[in-house]
């Protein structure tokens, strides 16, 4: 076990070279609806129980199912009104269980990235060959259902092995949503490939704000607005990224969605300064324009540590 994953180098926020998003924009905004399938009777993983108490967990399972049956449509129609395209964090087995939801996303030209097969199948304990099988399955399943080649990854339920990021880079993924160390993208130190660490977010993720921090809807909208205002201010110096990761089983509850819309309206009023994009579009722009200059800046500051992830 390593003390430091060595997946990226220290890169002080102050004094970085300027990133400018397409159209001279200061902030790249993306929205990531998690479209997930939690199994009713998931198998055990030695390191994590799927549900805190017992299996099955009828209340938790059915609340996730509410997200699929009721929630996604509400959220899609809200995003439609603001011309926002989602970047779907997808448990790919949902393509088999609920293809209607996938069709609704495809119709809207949304992007898909992999969030594993099920949110109840964890990476802990997998061999690299097994993780590769998950990636093959993810790529093939989404390609078949949507025609898209996925370029992003968020490990299922945020569970990893030491190999996860090397494997996704090797499979020509462009971005990882697994790391939370920054408000700007940064190259990851994988053995091969060109993998960007993409700012996703736990702090303004509805699972954290509603389920962990116990915020009420007004407070959630308030912190989203403050978060956006601060990152936009800083984006003038060098382009920032803001993502709102969402879960329809939480945000699309009838007592929450209207209040959430206040934050969305605030953000979408800043069309002059904000690039409304998908994860892949942001990753591509960064890879094409800022990958080399970022590495050069890290090197110039004398903080490049060498090696690759989990291999100093």
């Amino acid at each position: 076990m390593k003390a430091d994953p060595n997946l990226y180098d220290y890169w002080p926020y102050a004094g970085r070279p300027k990133i400018v998003w397409p159209g001279g924009k200061k902030l790249a905004f993306w929205i990531a609806p998690n479209i997930e399938f939690y199994e009713f009777m998931p198998p055990n993983n030695t390191q994590r129980q799927p549900w805190p108490n017992a299996i099955p967990n009828v209340q938790q399972y059915s609340q996730r199912d509410f997200g699929n049956r009721v929630g996604h449509l509400r959220l899609m129609e809200l995003l439609d009104r603001y011309n926002l395209r989602g970047s779907v964090s997808l448990n790919v087995a949902l393509c088999d269980h609920h293809p209607e939801i996938i069709e609704d996303c495809v119709k809207r030209d949304w992007e898909f990235f992999s969030h594993g097969i099920y949110n109840t199948r964890y990476s802990y304990g997998m061999s690299p060959a097994q993780e590769q099988e998950v990636l093959n399955d993810s790529i093939a399943t989404v390609e078949k259902a949507t025609g898209q080649r996925i370029r992003g990854y968020l490990a299922p339920a945020l569970t990893h092995t030491e190999s996860t990021l090397d494997l996704i880079a090797e499979n020509d993924f462009w971005y990882s949503c697994d790391l939370f160390q920054d408000d700007q993208p940064q190259p990851l130190k994988t053995k091969s490939g060109k993998l960007v660490s993409m700012p996703y977010s736990l702090e303004v993720n509805d699972v954290i704000t509603y389920s962990v921090m116990g915020m009420d809807p007004d407070r959630y909208s308030d912190i989203l607005i403050r978060h956006f205002d601060q990152l936009l201010l800083e984006g003038e110096r060098s382009g920032t990224v803001m993502c709102i990761p969402l879960h329809a089983y939480l945000v699309s509850q009838p007592h929450r969605l209207k209040v959430f819309e206040k934050a969305l309206a605030h953000i979408c009023a800043h069309t002059d300064d904000v690039w409304f994009a998908t994860g892949k579009e942001i990753a591509e722009h960064f890879r094409d324009n800022y990958w080399d200059s970022t590495l050069a800046d890290i090197k110039a500051r004398g903080v490049a540590a060498g090696g690759t992830g989990f291999a100093p």
């Binding site: 076990m1 390593k2 003390a3 430091d4 994953p5 997946l7 220290y10 890169w11 002080p12 926020y13 102050a14 390191q47 994590r48 802990y124 945020l158 569970t159 990893h160 092995t161 030491e162 697994d178 790391l179 939370f180 160390q181 920054d182 408000d183 736990l202 702090e203 303004v204 921090m213 116990g214 407070r219 912190i223 989203l224 403050r226 978060h227 601060q230 990152l231 800083e234 500051r301 004398g302 903080v303 989990f310």
Partner: protein, 299 residues
């Protein structure tokens, strides 16, 4: 049932005063009045911990409150904490610069070793030794030699720090003596009074500068899940009360923790700016470094 051993119902230290010899028992109304310089009634010490949270914490003797949570490799919590050292701390530094305020940065030895550019940015602020890392907690199970080695390692990583804060503010019963022996003048782990208190050890004295657990951003915003509005309001209420008590009790102080991965979040940093601006508007309140507090108090 044989019950507990008879020792359990014997109380060898049951006598007037404290049950240790670091400082004497003293009620607030009996302490000599302290006066800060320039008519200041309330001194504020802003303490910014810069901590390294390894991906593989030992959990000995307990896990640091900010340590990894999920099974290895917990990239989630590793990177959430690291956000503070890469991004959040620079927001704090900017807010301090705007308010022309100096803070006291409590720096893990491992941070100094890894993040040299960050240390350079702390010029003009105070740097306090903060142990080796969050995985190096000082506790009773360490031998004297082991604890001395931890202190040496932490001190050697920094440019001659005069003060100390322990990782997770944890100490052994030997810590104060070993810190004094290492030539440290003050320590920010204890908070039994609203003014600094001098502790005595066999290896010399060391000043204990109070540090509020209840008003720390980690406790109030993270552990207790209260709002930033309320954090600012509660700190200002505390300041008001200390100022009101000035006539009766003299100068008092508050040690306030600003955790980079908590208050340095984009949606929270406004609250620090607001707090600094409200403090700045008060002539009777002054932000001092731990070194200044130590010096003022000793004078």
């Amino acid at each position: 049932m044989s019950g507990l051993s008879t020792d359990y119902l014997s109380y060898p230290k049951r006598a007037y005063g404290q049950d240790h010899s670091f400082y004497d028992w003293r009620l607030s109304q009996n302490r000599p009045k302290l006066e800060w310089k320039n008519g200041v009634k309330v001194a504020i010490c802003l303490i910014v911990p810069l901590e390294f949270f390894p991906l593989n914490p030992s959990g000995v003797p307990y896990k640091h409150p900010g340590a990894m949570v999920t099974p290895y490799p917990d990239l989630r919590h590793f990177t959430v904490r690291d956000y503070g050292n890469r991004v959040g701390v620079y927001r704090i530094l900017e807010a301090l610069e705007e308010a022309k305020s100096q803070a006291t940065f409590a720096v893990n030895g491992e941070i100094a070793r890894r993040y040299a550019p960050l240390l350079q940015k702390l010029e003009g602020h105070e740097i306090l030794a903060h142990g080796v890392s969050t995985n190096h907690i000082h506790h009773e199970g360490l031998s004297r030699q082991e604890e001395e080695a931890l202190i040496d390692r932490a001190l050697n990583a920094l440019p001659s720090p005069k003060g100390w804060m322990s990782p997770a503010r944890g100490q052994s019963s030997r810590s104060l003596e070993l810190l004094a022996q290492s030539g440290l003048d003050y320590c920010l782990d204890w908070e039994m009074d609203q003014v600094p208190v001098m502790a005595k050890t066999d290896k010399g004295d060391i000043m204990l500068i109070p540090n509020s657990y209840e008003l720390s951003d980690f406790t109030l915003l993270h552990t207790r899940r209260q709002t930033e509005e309320s954090w600012v309001k509660q700190i200002m209420s505390a300041i008001d009360m200390l100022a009101e008590e000035h006539e009766r009790f003299g100068g008092q102080m508050l040690g306030l923790t600003l955790t980079p991965y908590i208050i340095g979040q984009p949606f929270r940093i406004w609250a620090l700016r607001e707090l600094l601006s409200r403090i700045g508007a008060r002539e009777d309140v002054r932000i001092l470094t731990a070194a200044q507090i130590n010096q003022d108090f000793r004078e």
